[in-house]
Subunit: 356 residues, 2 copies
Amino acid sequence: MKAIAVYEDGDEPVLMEKPRPEPSGGEALIRTLRVGVDGTDHEVIAGEHGGTPEGEDHIVLGHEAIGVVEDPNDTPFEVGDLVVPTVRRPPNGANEYFARGEPDMAPSGRYHERGIEGDHGFMSEYFTSPAEYLVPVPRELVELGFLVEPASIAEKAIEHTVASRSAFHWEPESAVVLGNGSLGLLTLAILGDTFDRRYCLGRRDRPDPTIDVIESLGATYINSNETPVSGIPAAYEAVDFVFEATGHAPHAFECIEALAPNGAAALLGVPGDWTFEIDGGKLHRELVLHNKALVGSVNSGYDHFEAAVESLSRLPRGYLDDLVTGVYPVEEFEAAFVDDDTTIKTAVEFGRYEER
Amino acid sequence: MKAIAVYEDGDEPVLMEKPRPEPSGGEALIRTLRVGVDGTDHEVIAGEHGGTPEGEDHIVLGHEAIGVVEDPNDTPFEVGDLVVPTVRRPPNGANEYFARGEPDMAPSGRYHERGIEGDHGFMSEYFTSPAEYLVPVPRELVELGFLVEPASIAEKAIEHTVASRSAFHWEPESAVVLGNGSLGLLTLAILGDTFDRRYCLGRRDRPDPTIDVIESLGATYINSNETPVSGIPAAYEAVDFVFEATGHAPHAFECIEALAPNGAAALLGVPGDWTFEIDGGKLHRELVLHNKALVGSVNSGYDHFEAAVESLSRLPRGYLDDLVTGVYPVEEFEAAFVDDDTTIKTAVEFGRYEER
C-alpha cells in the first residue's frame, strides 16, 4: 500500500510502498480516507520534534485522520463505520494514564504519538488501531473528519482553562485567539458557543483569506503589526479568555496584560528556547491582584475527540469548508505540504467513502 | 478609644484617640482582642500600597483581627461571641461580587479593604461591622484567631489552584512553599492535610527560628542561597504544587521549572515593576508540553475564612504557638511592627477575653 513518510535523515515527505497491516486481537483494520497536515508534521519533517519508531529508519506521517472500518476483526465496530483515531499510544502495553482515558496527561516517556514520535502515523492507505482508540464519526463529517483531531486539542485546552475558573462564578463574554493558523481559526468558531465577542490576532495584512473567514464569523481581526497583544485592552477590550496558538513565546507572557480581571489564558504553542526581557514584576503582580491564570495544554483524550465531533457537527459548514484550502490525492501529496499565504488547512486524500 | 493608625504623610504607625464607633442597623459592635501584623501593613505604612478613607488624613491599620461581640445590636450574634471580620467592603452599598460572597473576585474600584485601602482597619479597641462580614470562631482559637485572615488567603489560593487541576485525575503528593514568612509557614502546615512531602524555601542560613518550625512539621527546608527555585527538581524532586509567597517576581516564572508534569503553582506575591530576562521559550514550552498552570490569587471570601477556622482548629497547637513570636499590649505597639530575623508573626493585644 502507499504511505507517506519521512526518513530519519531526510527533510521532506516521501511516498513509499509498505505492506498492508494485519489487525491483531482487539484491533480493527481501517481504510484511510483523508489525513490533515499541520505544523507538527512540518516539525517532524524538519527533525525538530518527535522521532521514528524503535528500530526503523522512517516514520509514516499523519495524526489527523478519518477512515472507514474495513475489517472490524471482532471489535464492536461494523464494516463501513466512520472513525477518527486518537494519537497517543502506551509504549509498553497499558499504563494508568491510558487506563483512565487521559493519555494527554501522560508525561514524557509514557506515550508514543502516532505519526509524531515512536509510532507510525495514519498517512497510508490502511492502518490498524485498537478499537478503544477509535472515535465514531457521523456520516455528515466524512469529508471534514480530519478536523476532529485538531478540534479535540482546542476542546481540551478550553476545558482545562475553564476548569481553572470553576472555584468562583465566572461569566466570560470576550475571547481572543492568538494565531490565525488552522487551529486558531477552528477554535475561534468553537468559542462562538460561549463568547459573545471574539477576536483573532494574526500578523498578516489585508487582503488575506484568514481575515475573510474571521470576519465571516462576526469576529474581529487584530493585526499584530498594529496592535501588540499587550495593547489589546486599550485598542479593543480586556478579554476574559485568551487562546494562544502562535507558539510565539512572548505571547505566553504578554497575554497576561490582555486579560480582564479573573480571566485565564490557554497556552498551546511549543516554541524553542528563547531568552528575552519581560517586566516580570508587573506581570506577576497582575496575575495575583486580578486572579488571573495561565494554563498549558497539550494533546487530547478520548472525551475531547467526542466533544470535537459534536462541535464540528454544530459549526457552520460553509466556515469549515472555507478553512480547507486544499485536499490532494496521494499522488499529489507534496502540494498538501506547501504552506504559503493562501494556505489555511490541507489534507491528503487516500480514498473515498462509498455508500453501501 | 485607643487606635493605631498611619497618617497619609506619615511613615510610621502612631497611637491616637478616636471616638468609640456606634453600630448602624445590621452592624454589631465588636471589642477587639488581638490584631496581627503582616507585610501588607508595612506596605501601607510605607505608602507603597492602599490609601486613607475618603476625606480623612489617616487610616486605622489592621486587617487580621479577632474580637468579641460587645453589642449584637439586633444581629444574629450574642454578647460574648468570638468573631473574625472579613476585610473587603463594597464601596457604595452592595455589588454583585459581594452579593455572591466573592468579594475577593471584585476588580479594582469595586471594593475597599479595611485597614488597607479606603476604610479604617481593626487596630482600635472597638470596631463595628455588618454581621454578614463576621465569621464565628470557636473558643479554643481565642488567642490565635488573628491567624484566621492570613490562613483564609492560603485556603483561597489552594482552592483555586486545585480547581485548575479538576478536569483530570490529579493525585498530588509533593508541595513546595516559596517563602518562610508567616503566610508561607502557615500554609506549609495547612498543606499537611493533602501532601505527603512538603518543602519550604527561604533565604536564611541556620540557625534560624523559621527553619526549626519547618522541620518540626517534618518538612524540608530549602536554602535558596544553595538551591535556586529552578534547581529544586535536581536537588530534591519536581513538585506537584508550588505556593509562591515571596513576592520575588522571578519566582513566579522559575517555579514552572520546579513543577512536575501536570503540576500547578499558586502565586500570591505582589511585587513592584521589575524587568529581567527569562528563557521564555523554554518556560512556555514547559507549561504546554507538561500541562502546567500558574494561578494568581488575592484576598479571600467568607467561605475561605470558614475553611481557615477549620484548618486552624485541626493544626498542631504547638506549631501555631511557635509561629507567634510576639503579642504586645497596645501601649507597646511599636514592638509588633519590628520585623527582624527573630520575628515570624506578631500581634497587638487590645483586650482579653473574659469568660461569662
